[in-house]
């Protein structure tokens, strides 16, 4: 299963679902909804955390958190 953690800088993806129930509420509230398009824009040093464009703003999260977001490539 492809997750947001698999994206490389500049790549697009579309959110399809979540694997972690606890984190999903926070992610949903921040605008990471199924069907939303995301673009990976930055890595912090050492590749973690990551920054992505979603719903018109920049959101950061750790790689392990990004791995709970399922995506399909656009």
């Amino acid at each position: 299963m492809l997750t947001l953690a698999d994206l490389r800088i500049g790549e697009h993806g579309e959110i399809t679902g979540f694997t972690d129930e606890l984190l999903s509420l926070k992610l949903l509230e921040m605008g990471c909804l199924p069907g939303t398009e995301v673009i990976l824009t930055h890595h912090a040093p050492f590749g973690d955390p990551i920054a992505l464009k979603v719903s018109g703003y920049t959101l950061t999260m750790r790689r392990e958190e990004a791995a709970t977001i399922q995506i399909k490539r656009k």
Binding site: E21, L22, L23, S24, L25, K26, L27, L28, E29, M30, G31, L33, P34, I39, T41, H42, H43, A44, P45, F46, D48, P49, A51, K53, S55, G56, Y57, T58, L59, T60, M61, R62, E65
Partner: protein, 708 residues
């Protein structure tokens, strides 16, 4: 203020809430405390109509009414409880128009709680630059509320907002009674039967968040749990489904009210200034270089710029004292005024320039949006030590003062990350340590020498002490991470706001508030301790003090003039109550190189370390050479001779041992009290006190033994 109309300001972080608050209230602001919590409560007065003033309550920025951290809990505790003393008559939800959907999520939740709400659309210009045109009239009809277009930063649109608020207060629009996502009618009825009538969504909020709401007692919480079980209701599932549903409804509304001028096939979004700056500021290499450079400039600047006003204050206080001693009769009262009170007040005032500079830098970093970038690039490293990217803010604020720093840990969602941050933050060298460092470094580090011919060696020593505190904080965090067990896991999901020019008014208000708090809060303690100390240092048990003068004259018949009175003064100090205390603990601190005079300073500074310099001034002005031209504390300490060796007392070994002791020791009642309030247990302040003091003792012992 029972009958004053109160409006709560609600909004996402960075939506422009504080700008609007400052625009509406100007300088009519006051900070207070919410009942039962230590969080700062910011209120202000807004003149809605001529002769009609209303109170504006600024609430912490949130993304949803479902709290994820302690600071977010406050919002549901006020909005969910109509009996709360701060319950508002209505709410203004400030929304960032350039991120409309996410901002409307919070708006729709607040409106459904049954609170009359006005939607204030901010940053419309930003949205239009991105190609979005919002039809706010249509939006108002769709959402069934008053919508006001504002520019909070420039103060445009306040007139329209006033009209919207007046209308809403008059008609008190009812919310839509339907729940965003229906639940069994019996469930809501059960909640209402047991806990009273409320809007359905508020009943549901009680049911789902009862553990975080202070209005319910243990028994009520248990009956909520029974209801959840009886109806097989799962709050987590419901909240997620509700959020998705709300976004669906919001998307439909936005679809109808917003025109997107961007062509669909424009795949790449427009490059903004923020994107360009982020290429550098969060770059894997340059990001760190810039961050370190900013920190270094901050220290060099604070050490060099702040010394000018500090020297003025120091010299001014010494001159004032000499002048007063000259014109006032020589009596105990004069002594108490000059060596007790004024020396104490001087010890407070001397901090002011450095505190002002530090808060200037910290508030600039926060204002511009750079602080979030620091959290982003530091998260990985901090995580290794059991901390969190968000721990960076408390740690940096700890350079100013541990009390607000510990309070700022509330935004850290995970309890373990937060607890470790609280426990290690006081190891960061706070501004109260600065004068101690300044005085001691000046005594033991040569002023003229430079490192590589560029950096002032004293500045380098100071920077080194700050680094030492920081690395000790990391090390302690790492140890605590191994010891403490976590119930929940840590997470780091955070918005990176766009870069903004700093609002200098906010910076000025922040500096003013912190300096004022320092002078009046810390100042009270310092002055009180200075006076008490003066009394204890001037009087002794029985009639021993009275006999001293005679004894000294008998023992040292050759002494005359200044030498004689100095000898008498120091003998008096040694036989005073303070002297006895100092002697009592001398055996314990001898291995660190300290004598009983430093012992007195250690005892007094256990309540507040900033007392050290004041204590030293009091002790040496009572017991040492009082020479008008060399009356500053630095010179008095430099002149002190070690009676055992006959060499200067403050040599490198003692100086560094003291520096290390003060760098690590937990000597601040206010910090311990804050830790108690934030952790709600005496266990953690005790742990904090214990481990830091042990660390300080052992490290100072090692330093003294190695250097001497």
């Amino acid at each position: 203020m029972a009958n004053v109309t109160r409006i709560a300001l609600i909004g996402n972080p960075n939506a422009g809430k504080s700008s609007l608050f400052n625009t509406l209230t100007g300088l009519n602001q006051k900070t207070g405390n919410f009942p039962g919590v230590t969080m700062d409560k910011l209120t202000g007065i807004w003149e809605l109509e001529p002769g009609r003033n209303i109170e504006i309550l600024d609430l912490p920025g949130i993304y949803s009414i479902y709290p994820k951290s302690i600071d977010e809990e406050l919002v549901i505790n006020i909005l969910g409880n109509p009996q709360h003393p701060d319950y508002p008559d209505m709410a203004i939800v400030v929304a960032d128009a350039s991120n409309l959907k996410r901002n409307l999520l919070l708006f729709s939740q607040v409106r459904d709680l049954g609170i009359p709400t006005v939607l204030a659309l901010n940053m419309i210009d930003v949205a239009e630059n991105q190609g979005y045109v919002i039809n706010s009239l249509k939006l108002a009809r769709e959402l069934n509320v008053e919508v006001a277009e504002i520019n909070a930063k420039k103060g445009i649109g306040v007139g329209g907002l006033k009209l919207a608020v007046i209308k809403t207060l008059k008609h008190r629009y009812a919310s839509n009674d339907a729940l965003p996502l229906s639940v069994a009618d019996e469930l809501i009825e059960d909640v209402q039967k047991q806990f009273g009538e409320a809007d359905p969504y508020r009943s549901l909020l009680w049911l789902m968040e009862h553990d975080r709401m202070k209005m319910f007692n243990q028994e009520q919480r248990e009956s909520f749990d029974h209801l959840l079980e009886k109806h097989q209701f799962e709050p987590k599932k419901y909240k997620s489904a509700e959020t998705v549903k709300r976004y669906e409804q919001i998307s439909e509304v936005v679809e109808r009210c917003v025109i997107n001028l961007n062509r669909q096939w424009d795949a790449e979004p427009v490059k903004t200034w923020t994107d360009r700056l982020d290429k550098v500021f969060i770059h894997s290499f340059w990001g760190y270089v810039i961050f370190l450079a900013i920190l270094f400039i901050m220290f060099q600047a604070v050490f060099t710029w702040a010394t000018y006003p500090m020297d003025l204050i120091d010299g001014g206080v010494a001159q004032l004292n000499d002048w007063l001693k000259g014109i006032l009769p020589d009596s105990p009262l004069t002594g108490m005024l000059t060596d007790g009170l004024i020396a104490g007040v001087g010890g407070v005032l001397i901090f002011v320039p450095q505190i002002a500079f530090l808060f200037f830098f910290i508030s600039m970093l926060e204002e511009t949006g750079y602080m979030s970038r620091v959290m982003f690039i530091m998260d990985k490293m901090m995580r290794r030590f059991g901390l969190n990217g968000k721990s960076v803010v408390p740690l940096i604020s700890g350079i100013a003062c541990a009390v607000p720093a510990i309070m700022s840990t509330r935004s850290i969602g995970s309890w373990k990350d937060r607890l470790i941050t609280i426990l290690v933050t006081p190891l960061m060298s706070c501004s109260a340590r600065l004068p101690i460092y300044t005085v001691l470094i000046a005594l033991v580090v040569p002023e003229k020498n430079t490192l590589f011919g560029v950096f002032n060696l004293q500045g380098v020593a100071l920077f080194g002490l700050y680094l030492l505190g920081f690395f000790m904080a990391l090390l302690s965090a790492w140890v605590l991470k191994k010891i403490l067990r976590a119930k929940e896991r840590s997470y780091f999901i955070m918005e990176l706001p766009t870069y903004k020019g700093p609002r200098f008014k906010h910076v000025a208000i922040s500096i003013y508030n912190s300096v004022r708090a320092f002078i009046f809060e810390a100042g009270k303690i310092i002055v009180a301790i200075s006076i008490v100390l003066w009394v204890f240092a001037s009087y002794g048990p029985g009639d021993s003090m009275a006999k001293i003068e005679e004894q000294v004259r008998l023992k040292n018949p050759s002494l005359t003039g200044v030498d004689l009175s100095n000898k008498i003064a120091s003998e008096k100090l040694e036989n005073s109550y303070a002297g006895h205390f100092g002697k009592l603990i001398e055996p314990a601190i001898k291995p660190l190189g300290y004598d009983w005079k430093i012992g007195i300073a250690l005892i007094t500074s256990f309540a507040a370390r900033e007392v050290f310099v004041g204590t030293m001034s009091t002790i040496y002005s009572l017991g040492g050479e009082v020479d008008n031209e060399n009356a500053t504390i630095k010179n008095r300490m430099r002149a002190e001779i070690n009676p055992d060796t006959g060499k200067p007392m403050y040599d490198a070994a003692l100086g560094f041992s003291l520096l290390i002791f003060y760098a690590f020791a937990m000597q601040c009642m206010s910090t311990l009290a804050t830790t108690y309030r934030e952790t709600k247990s005496w266990k953690y302040p005790l742990i904090q006190f214990g481990y830091m003091t042990t660390l300080a003792y052992l490290a100072a012992f090692l330093v003294y033994q190695i250097l001497s």
